[in-house]
Amino acid sequence: MQLALFWIFASLTLLFALGVVVLRNPVSCAMSLVMSFVGLSALFVTLDAFFIAIVQILVYAGAVMVLFLFIIMLLDLRVETRRPLRLGAWLGGGLVLAGFLTTLFHVTASSPSLSVVKPEIVPGLNDVAQVGIALFRYYNLPFQIIGVLLLVATIGVVVLSRRELK
């Protein structure tokens, strides 16, 4: 049952991610990306990381996607015109990918410690509470710094997107 769910969500994630690369209309790409993130969030749920799954939905499928669609709308993009393919990019990309994937397959096939079945966790564990304890007890300073980073990003976006006044 778990394995079936895993394959359903994994294929959902990978197929829609492939859609991002293959589709020509930018709006279809953005929608495909949303579905890919939803599948990924379901994979996080199968790993008992409920907090991360919810944050994934809220931040990526919510905020980031609205931002992407808003920019696509703002730029008024048409469907891309076909241009001649760059043979060098295809060859280089194919070589890098083939090397990476064969290495990954080799490593996962040859190391038995990677094929352990998922160990049982303590029943009734409160995931959000545990993440909150770790975040505010041990990582309070990085948390504050992240807040400052978001403030800097907000100011930077306002400065960047302001029209030049002459």
Partner: protein, 105 residues
């Protein structure tokens, strides 16, 4: 039951698809989406490692906090990057990377 190798393969596949998007597409928005896919693939492998290495029956929450920080920084990165793309579009009227060759020698 899915094993750690399953999750690592899905994560590697997602990373490869994102890299493919960055290498092959020439629309700068789609390149940006490919970057997001690669970041998410890294997140998936971090969470999978934390779930499969239990400490006293509990998954590692330090790793989940790291993923939380990665998601936050990625959100900030998307906001700044899209603002740069809008500024670029205003200046050049294109988001096709082959038309942006002002720095090319």
């Amino acid at each position: 039951m899915p094993t750690l190798a399953h999750y690592l393969l899905v994560s590697g596949g997602l990373f490869s698809i994102g890299l493919l998007g960055v290498l092959l597409r020439r629309n700068i928005l789609i390149i940006f989406m490919g970057l997001e896919l690669m970041l998410n693939a890294a997140n998936l492998s971090i969470v999978a490692f934390s779930r499969f290495n239990l400490h006293g029956g509990m998954p590692g929450y330090n790793e989940q906090v790291l993923v939380f920080f990665v998601i936050t920084v990625a959100a900030a990165e998307v906001a700044v990057g899209l603002a740069i793309i809008v500024a670029l579009f205003r200046a050049k009227q294109t988001i096709h990377v082959e038309d942006l060759d002002a720095l090319k020698f």
